[in-house]
């Protein structure tokens, strides 16, 4: 556990001082500014546009940071032989992976929080009344990033190519948002075209249902998000998926030879 915390803290500090995250924050600031300009074009709906664009791009920036980080962190340390100096110490390989993953997610979560703070500040200036639904939407976005980050880590270790891991993760990210539609298609057409629907069905079983966490798209629910989110199942699903990919990553990494 100590090794996990040390590695997580080390990753967090490294990411803080890393130019990449500075660029992500600067880019996010630019995008938030652009959202304000777009909001002006939406006149009466300025606040809604600012809300949607801001939340969307905060999530996107979190995704980029998490997927890029997860795809490259271990591979980069393998190339620079930093991993040799760690693994030749009494550190479990699974602890190493978990520490690096947690550190990365802490960094990404922190960056997302900073962006969200700036976003809420701008919204309040525009006359928006803060609603707890915003926090739910943000949490949903972060859980998506957590799940996708763990998947990216697994893909990086199994493909040993950062580019492959990035590409496959983005494809799965997209498919994950279409899962309700995929399930609907399978239900409607499965009996008539079993062979054609079989790959879709397989996909619907395996990839994470990211639409589950997409509370940004449900901010209009009159009852409010808190009433509609089965929080327990939600968190179990996210934790379960992260655990699956982290355990598989750990199994791969334990067998890895350098």
């Amino acid at each position: 556990m100590r090794a996990v915390l040390l590695l997580a803290l080390n990753s967090w500090v490294e990411n803080l001082r890393n130019r990449f995250f500075g660029l992500v924050l600067a880019f996010a600031g630019t995008v938030l500014y652009l959202s304000m300009l777009l909001g002006l074009l939406a006149s009466d709906q300025e606040v809604r546009v600012l809300l949607d664009f801001g939340l969307g791009f905060i999530e996107l920036m979190g995704l980029v940071g998490a997927v890029y980080g997860a795809s490259t962190v271990v591979l980069r340390e393998m190339e620079s032989k930093t991993v040799y100096m760690i693994l030749t110490r009494p550190v479990e390989r699974s602890s190493y992976l978990l520490g690096r993953y947690l550190g990365l997610m802490l960094s990404v979560g922190g960056a997302m929080l900073i962006m969200a703070g700036a976003h809420v500040f701008m919204l309040v200036l525009k006359g928006w009344a803060f609603r707890p639904d915003y926090c739910w939407a943000f949490l949903g976005a972060f859980l998506k990033v957590l799940v996708t980050g763990s998947l990216a880590l697994f893909l990086a270790l199994s493909t040993t190519s950062a580019l492959s891991a990035l590409s496959i993760t983005m494809i799965i990210w997209s498919l994950g948002h279409f899962l309700p539609e995929i399930r609907l298609m399978v239900r409607r057409f499965g009996s008539d075209s079993t062979l054609l629907m079989a790959p879709l069905q397989a996909v619907s079983w395996v990839i994470p249902d990211l639409q589950l966490f997409n509370l940004r798209d449900r901010l209009d629910l009159p009852a409010g998000l808190a009433q509609c989110v089965p929080v327990g199942s939600w968190l179990v699903y996210a934790a379960g998926y992260c655990c699956v990919w982290l355990v598989l990553s750990s199994a791969l990494f334990k067998r890895k030879e350098f």
Binding site: L6, N10, E14, Y84, T88, R89, P90, V91, E257, F258
Partner: protein, 258 residues
């Protein structure tokens, strides 16, 4: 110059032992499998308190041998033991220190931060770490630069930081891969003196280098690898005529110049 007789197996036992070790790499591409022998039937030991050098041409199996000793690779056949344990046993790793060739550290960190990090990973108690870090920094001659960032360091200074992290936790066996690679003559001398001092304090050292003269000055015994096999093990008195000649006559292909 080390004692030409060196410590014998009867004095303190083997710290590192290779018993008939073979390592074969298997790679497959588009259905075709390729097998490459890394090392074959390696059988030797490194005795407690000695400095053992590993010499060989590029591709002779030095790196493979090191990685087998460090647990970064597993033998296809045979057995490797470190301090009487499996290489990946945490107790073995706790008694091992490793300096990779051309170590890399994040430029924004100071030697103190780096050593605190690696000290924690080595399992040192938190209360002990600051004192040990300070002593090791002085020992490797970085006292004046302790608070400066790695980005400002010369190659020789980075190499010293690498050695510091390898000996911080007072390991019984120190493994050094090309420790003087890229260093100027003065830095080489300083480094050699450090290693002699370490050995005088009872550390067992396994070192590889392309610099034959350095091994000549440092080692009690030298093993020469050729095509993945341990072609010869020389005692210090065996190369009194010059280690280079012994090396060349061992590795030169039969019948002519290399």
């Amino acid at each position: 110059m080390p004692d030409p007789n060196g410590p014998s197996a009867s004095d303190g036992g083997a710290v590192l032992r290779f018993r008939d070790v073979t390592k074969t790499y298997v790679s497959s591409h588009l259905g075709r499998t390729r097998t490459v022998r890394g090392v074959s039937e390696l059988d030797f030991e490194v005795r407690r308190g000695e400095v053992f050098g590993l010499l060989g041409l590029n591709g002779s199996g030095k790196t493979t041998t090191f990685k087998l000793a460090l647990g970064l690779l597993s033998p296809t056949q045979g057995e490797v033991s470190v301090l009487g344990l499996r290489p990946r046993d945490p107790r073995a790793l706790a008694g091992l220190g490793f300096l990779p060739e051309l170590p890399w550290f994040p430029g924004f960190m100071t030697p103190q931060e780096i050593l605190r990090f690696y000290g924690g990973l080595s399992g040192l108690p938190d209360a002990e770490i600051p004192g040990r870090v300070a002593r090791v920094i002085e020992r490797v001659g970085l006292g004046a630069a302790a608070g400066r960032r790695i980005a400002e360091f010369s190659k020789g200074m980075v190499q010293r930081v690498g050695l510091a992290q390898a000996i911080l936790h007072d390991p019984a066996l120190v493994v050094l891969d090309e420790p003087v690679s890229g260093l100027d003559p003065l830095a080489i001398k300083d480094f050699r003196d450090l290693l002699v001092e370490l050995n005088a304090k009872g550390k067992t050292i396994l070192v590889s280098s392309h610099s034959i003269s350095e091994l000549e000055k440092l080692c009690h015994r030298v093993g020469i690898l050729k095509d993945g096999r341990l072609a010869r093990v020389l005692q210090a008195q065996d190369w009194s005529g010059g280690l280079e000649e012994r090396f060349i006559e061992t590795v030169r292909p039969a019948g002519g110049a290399a």
